[in-house]
Symmetry: C2
Subunit: 391 residues, 2 copies
Amino acid sequence: MNAHTLTNTMIETISPHWIHGERFCVTYRIAATGAQAQSIADNICLEQTVEVTRSVIPAEPIGSWILGHIESIQTIAANASIAVISYAAEIVAGELPQLLNVILGNTSLTPGVRVEKVELSPAVSAAFKGPRYGVAGWRKLLNAETRPILATAIKPMGLTVQALADKAYAMAVGGLDIIKDDHGLTNQKFGLYAERVARVSDAVRRANAVTGGNTLYAPNVTGPIEQVWERARLAKNAGAGALLVCPGLIGFDVMRALADDDSLNLPILAHPSLLGAFVAHPDHGIAHGVLFGLIARLAGADASIFTNYGGRFAFTVEECRAIATACAAVSGTLAPILPVPAGGMTLERIPDLHRTYGTDVMYLIGGALMAHSPDLVANCQLFRKLVTMQL
Amino acid sequence: MNAHTLTNTMIETISPHWIHGERFCVTYRIAATGAQAQSIADNICLEQTVEVTRSVIPAEPIGSWILGHIESIQTIAANASIAVISYAAEIVAGELPQLLNVILGNTSLTPGVRVEKVELSPAVSAAFKGPRYGVAGWRKLLNAETRPILATAIKPMGLTVQALADKAYAMAVGGLDIIKDDHGLTNQKFGLYAERVARVSDAVRRANAVTGGNTLYAPNVTGPIEQVWERARLAKNAGAGALLVCPGLIGFDVMRALADDDSLNLPILAHPSLLGAFVAHPDHGIAHGVLFGLIARLAGADASIFTNYGGRFAFTVEECRAIATACAAVSGTLAPILPVPAGGMTLERIPDLHRTYGTDVMYLIGGALMAHSPDLVANCQLFRKLVTMQL
């Protein structure tokens, strides 16, 4: 071949036998109407797939198959439209990073477009194992068949490992189900991971021996990628019963791989650190239910922590309900998971929370449980009593 | 210990000898003024560190050391303030995910707070090797001492591997420096990674033999975490001279670890897929220069792709200049890196781009290079000529 005669017309395309027509759909909210919205939707079809102008795309099979297709577009408000765009299942290649890339990747760089809904096709959905435990798994592990699950966190950062272990002991004796590391606890010199996991696991084991309970400790394995599995194995070997992972800090796919790892076989709590930018603006990013519900489930979370309405964060009750709904919704073979409202929750709010979330929920009360009274065991017992009273 | 008598007053704290006073600073833009801004800044100090109310924090050393400190706060507009908050270097533990967590983690869930500037302290900065090659490294690899570096992408997704390799051959013969995979190319059945990397690497090698040039191929190693290193090694062994990584899809820390890996020893291009949500709103997220400049450098990028002003994306010329400035700014021992304006760039804009970016830049023109005329080699030669003419 003489390179100087190579032209763009010399395009071979893929064999038609790959095309079997399965597509999945993403619903975008576009902050525009009419011809402008149509133009933005047309650009999404290109941007999320071929990233070239239509003029250089062979009609068959790239234009007809690889390219995003607008399935419907309609005006929903004075300055907003909804467009449903379908993508070929094959372009995802069964890979979570690429699924995220196709759903929003480059279009995240275009303000005014928000992912409102994702409807996976069977082949895309089947590529992901999803939650290893889910709601049913937590209930079995915790011997808690019908009630809400109660969680808390050991903190503040800066306490000695022994002080954190003492707190964990009190919390387990007080009857809580899950004791997680505060997500800022990693491997600081003043609270080294290995020492913390050994001592806290031991404290929880001793408390369970006293109470006959099944409290699980969930250490935070979010860290440098070279150490994540080492920390997870250390947690497993120490007897920690779960893992805390921050997918916003180390990637959703790392969480997915931890969940998929049969040698770990531990339930996972997903923490929302750094994910707020995606949901901060109604015109942009990813809807709460998609991010903290569907994507968390695809990425193997068994419980998805989010910032509850009425606390020190900004989520509305509707957004929180959308997350809870998405955690439970039927979606291929993905197990339903527990929504975990958190962030400035207090004991006084439990009756209201019960009306919002019902029983398939994990309540996470951290700081308020320490501040409620100086007796941490009594505070935990009160937490459990207040939840049980709602049933 | 009798758990029922354990109280919050029984808090041991860390040994004072850890405290040596080094702190690093984050400047936040807060969409409020006066007492409200002060209150938000106070909350950031708590939220990013101890995550409990002040009432349960021992004053020494947690309150005095671990807790964020407001170093200054001032009103800058009718509805905006700037707060500089310092954090103890030790809480970062030398870990990139934790640095991101301290900088914005939970506060990302509070709209109205944006990271405008990060000033690392010596100990925090020294924990990160940063770019392996940087500007000087690219220039040496490419034998291009003073001119802008020229990059393009093979696409669209859906072409056969052979068609992509043919394009890469033409682009290399046409005199471009870097040929990257389009970031949507992963391991689809119609364009398997291993086959693509082998054939494109071979095409670029053959072109270099013809031209005597040093064109580098940068395959996209963004994929399932279990396969990222396998793909990177495959690229290395096939003779690909660089890697393309999407930190928004697989995590900044995975990119950092690829950059740190001596067995790979390859320069890295960072792609901005999915990162747009962080910069979409002036009241929220992370400033362009911090995200695509400082954080990309900390995470080992040797070149940072972003969407250029005046193209099909929304960045302003000031935002793009801020990225270029942050790529070059002195920051500890981090090597300066190349800013890579991209996204709807055309050949006609080169004179304007030259005035904006000068010579320490990598221009990435993809689709427009294919669409300019049917002769891809001639288009690449024109691209190079137009850039050289500016010097």
